[in-house]
């Protein structure tokens, strides 16, 4: 490590090539882990280009690793040297609400020149992260990883570990990015449908079907190509602060097992992550242990974390993270020595959303999950419904369902024994008398749970892609009560004006907070009435995602909800106080997709 120190002093220790990047520099006193974190603006060189705008902590981007220990106290002293207020939110940590770090919700924020001491007992363990909750600071590098070591040793075996922080960087000011989204719909989308795409559809599906498909989307004034709002045309994607060219490298010795702690610290980017040629065993999601599941690729929503175990077979392997819309990627390398590279795969072809995104459920796999089985008739039935819309992707999807070749499907059938019905399946949906008003450009008429669908862009994948339905907790969770009450919120938006909200109402338009009653057990139902995926984050309390796994449901701090999807989660309202609840896409949050949950 000493040999490599100084390689790039502007990156945090864990971002440098070394054997293990999870050492954190701090003091331990009286059973407390003490960190001093200084927030500052620091000019940095990113991908060879100097930017004045990074917001760093202790001089680095991403911020340094905070490593805590379950059962001890954390004392985190944050000093603000910016000329504006700042804050740090400890994402996914269970703590008193005054320590949660959301200005205007948990505290007033950290004023210029001020030092705020966060102090809380550490109850959990796993991989988490921290970031600013002030304005758009998070876009500028104000984020870093957290590892909490368990009080009792885990049963997971590995020789070495790395944190892998994925993020998106812009050389423009975030305020400017936000304005462009507000005044010019689709500003960053250079993958819109063209006349040529229409004629390609005509070729593959015939004139009538192509015309009907274009008509269907046109009538709704929706684009099947709206996948990410801010794309690779604007962003430089980073892995541990390094763009692809700088090639972040994690070293290993042959034969070792490596634990990779992936954290998506992006402002706006869902990543699809794989290590070509190496299977990954997922052992935890959002910091919480899950029954090990082997996969070839996973989609990580903004703010989510996954821990995986890999065992390299060669001397160099590419860690490849492409943006969900395939407009860009970042790669790093696992290698036996510094400077090695492995082939970088091409990105997948660009894709577009199918009918399920409209919330019509016609080609939803969740519709089948209802029966818990693959039924040839229902498959045919759906094929029939899809006739008009059988575009290239839809068709592929249809075929996949028909012959059941997809691993997800096999998995589903084989797990049938443990699968319970998703409680909201088959329920009628209500959107209120005005369908959420102008704040919602569409509503899902028949939203389905699609937790066994890896999402847009994987319709034709012939390898294993992780789905939420594969995540199962190890022992279940302490609160075994059924839900006493249900709270339903709809995720709504209007791309044309870049309005984002819950139930069609922005934060500034609602009448008070969402109330949870202290001690109650409730079911939170989320219905996505928009065309985008939304990573929905609840502060302060776990959401036990109802995947159909019964008591082995996984629990999460952030749930990515696909377009036209309905999901539900059980929550124990055991944390009195006020908590932020929002879409973790930074500009969606700032546009109004934010609520306060008051536990009273």
């Amino acid at each position: 490590m000493g040999l490599l120190a100084g390689f790039d002093s502007l990156l945090p220790a864990y971002a440098r090539g070394q054997l293990d990047n999870t050492n954190a520099f701090h003091t331990v006193r009286n059973g407390a882990d003490i960190y001093d974190l200084t927030v500052a603006r620091t000019p940095l060189k990113i991908g060879g280009r100097v930017s004045e705008q990074p917001i760093t902590i202790n001089g680095t981007l991403p911020a340094p690793l905070v490593r805590l220990k379950q059962g001890r106290e954390a004392i985190l002293r944050v000093t603000n040297t910016l000329p504006e207020a700042t804050s740090i939110h400890w994402h996914g940590l269970i703590l008193p609400f005054q320590m949660d770090g959301v200005p205007g919700v948990s505290f007033p924020g950290i004023m210029p020149g001020e030092t705020f001491e966060y102090r809380f007992p550490v109850e959990q363990h796993g991989t988490y992260w921290y970031h600013s909750h002030t304005g758009l600071q998070e876009q500028l590098g104000h984020y870093g990883p957290i590892i909490i070591d368990p009080a009792e040793p885990e049963s997971v075996a590995y020789d070495r570990e790395y944190v892998v922080v994925l993020s998106d960087w812009t050389f423009d000011s975030p305020e400017d990015v936000f304005r462009k989204l507000k005044v010019a719909e689709g500003y960053y989308n250079y993958n819109q449908r063209t006349v040529g795409d229409f004629f390609k559809d005509v070729e593959t599906m015939g004139w009538d079907a192509a015309w009907n498909k274009a008509g269907m989307w046109g009538k709704m004034r929706m684009s099947p190509r709206d996948i990410l709002d801010v794309t690779g045309s604007e962003y430089t994607y980073l892995m541990n602060g390094s763009p692809s060219a700088s090639n972040w490298t994690g070293l290993f010795r042959p034969g070792e097992k490596i634990r990779l702690r992936f954290i998506n610290a992006s402002a706006m980017t869902f990543f699809d992550v794989r290590i070509p040629g190496l299977p990954m065993t997922v052992i935890s999601a959002d910091g919480q242990p899950v029954q090990p599941v082997e996969t070839d690729e996973f989609r990580i929503g903004v703010a989510e974390t996954y821990d995986v175990i890999v065992q390299p077979t060669g001397t160099a392997h590419t860690v490849f993270a492409q943006s969900q819309d395939r407009s860009g990627y970042v790669r790093g390398t696992l290698a036996t020595r510094k400077g090695m590279e492995a082939p970088v795969p091409p990105m997948y072809p660009r894709t577009e959303r199918g009918m399920a995104a409209m919330g019509m459920g016609a080609m939803s796999m969740g519709a089948m999950g209802k029966d818990g089985d693959m039924n040839m008739d229902s498959g045919m039935d759906m094929g029939g419904k899809m006739e008009m819309m059988s575009g290239s992707n839809d068709k592929a999807h249809g075929q996949m369902m028909m012959n059941g070749a997809d691993s997800g499907m096999n998995k589903m059938s084989s797990d049938k024994a443990t699968m319970n019905e998703v409680p909201t399946a088959g329920r009628p949906i209500s959107h209120g008398p005005d369908n959420h008003g102008p704040g919602a450009a569409m509503v899902a008429s028949s939203p389905q749970s699609r937790l066994d669908d890896p999402g847009v862009g994987f319709e034709t994948a012939n390898h294993r892609v992780l789905t939420y339905s594969q995540l199962q907790s190890i022992e279940g969770w302490p609160d075994k009560r059924p839900a006493e009450r249900e709270v339903e919120l709809h995720l709504t938006g209007n791309m044309e004006r870049y309005m984002w909200s819950f139930d069609g109402k922005k934060f500034s338009e609602v009448d008070g907070p969402v109330k949870f009653y202290h001690g109650e057990r409730l079911r939170l139902i989320l219905v996505n009435d928009s065309m985008m995926d939304h990573p929905i984050h609840l502060h302060g309390m776990w959401m036990e995602l109802e995947t159909g796994a019964g008591e082995y449901r996984p629990r999460k701090h952030t749930i990515s909800v696909k377009p036209g999807e309905r999901v539900s989660a059980l929550i124990t309202a055991d944390a009195p106080g006020d908590w932020a609840f929002h879409c973790h896409l930074l500009y969606h949050m700032d546009a109004g997709m934010f609520r306060v949950v008051s536990v009273v």
Partner: protein, 257 residues
């Protein structure tokens, strides 16, 4: 008890905040103190200036310069709109400002704004000039199948009523090369000879413009434009010895900031 006190403080504070900043504290929690900042700022004012068409037109020996611009400022649902359109004859230096409208615009539907305000119409150049004013009610928005529509009903200070409709449609040939089709028409409910307006459908205009986006903001274009006057208006123009039909080559630029 503590929570209760806080809530009382919050209610009082929220009212004060609403008065002081207009920001409102609508969604804040029960524990929030009145002097805290809001967690997000979703009610910001934005604005944009768009020159949809800034162009040169040539029809035989006639050369015209034409503008069609709009600007707005406001929040998501309430905006102030200024729109202007006009042309000048490059040989005679005379022309007219067909409209200069200042309107309040309210988004009442997912895709539609209702607009209302005042408009001015003037001529300029060597010959005696005239002007008239009108009250406007209009609709602007995005119709199904991606048609951008702007339509207005006008009542002039002389009580003359007219209705105009404009629609635009973009065909993306590539991500940066876009063919825009444009149609417009005007219907008058009375003859206004002074302004060359006959009752009934006055004219139909069609245009095709091919633009290339060097950036989202800046796109030069070339195209063709065709206008045909109809009915009473056609008769009126024939009597005045004016063209009742024109086909032009156009070149210009679309840009915004």
């Amino acid at each position: 008890m503590n929570i209760m006190m806080n809530r009382i403080k919050w209610v009082v504070g929220a009212s004060a905040l609403t008065l002081a900043s207009g920001a409102g504290a609508a969604g804040t929690g029960v524990q929030a103190e009145p002097d805290w900042t809001l967690p997000i700022h979703d009610n910001q004012v934005f604005g944009q200036v768009l020159f949809d068409r800034m162009e040169y037109q040539r029809d035989g020996d006639n050369e015209l310069a034409l503008w069609d611009a709009q600007a707005w400022i406001g929040k998501d649902r309430n905006r102030l709109w200024v729109e202007t359109e006009g042309e000048t004859d490059l040989s005679s230096d005379s022309g007219d400002i067909e409209n200069f409208d200042v309107q309040y615009s309210y988004r009442f539907d997912r895709f539609w704004d209702i607009q209302t305000g005042l408009g001015a119409q003037t001529t300029f150049g060597p010959s005696p000039n005239k002007e008239r004013y009108s009250a406007i009610v209009g609709l602007q928005g995005l119709a199904p199948y991606w048609f951008e529509v702007d339509t207005n009903l006008r009542v002039t200070d002389d009580g003359d009523v007219s209705y105009d409709l404009e629609a635009e449609y973009d065909w993306l040939l590539t991500q940066r090369l876009i063919l825009q089709g444009r149609g417009e028409t005007l219907v008058a409910f009375s003859d206004v000879e002074e302004w060359g307006v006959g009752s009934g459908i006055n004219n139909v205009g069609l245009g095709l413009r091919l633009r290339y986006h060097f950036s989202r903001e800046f796109a030069p274009y070339v195209g063709v434009s065709y206008t045909r006057f109809l009915g009473n208006t056609e008769d009126l123009r024939e009597r005045e010895g004016e063209d009742v039909e024109s086909s032009s080559f156009v070149a210009g630029v679309r840009w915004w900031f």
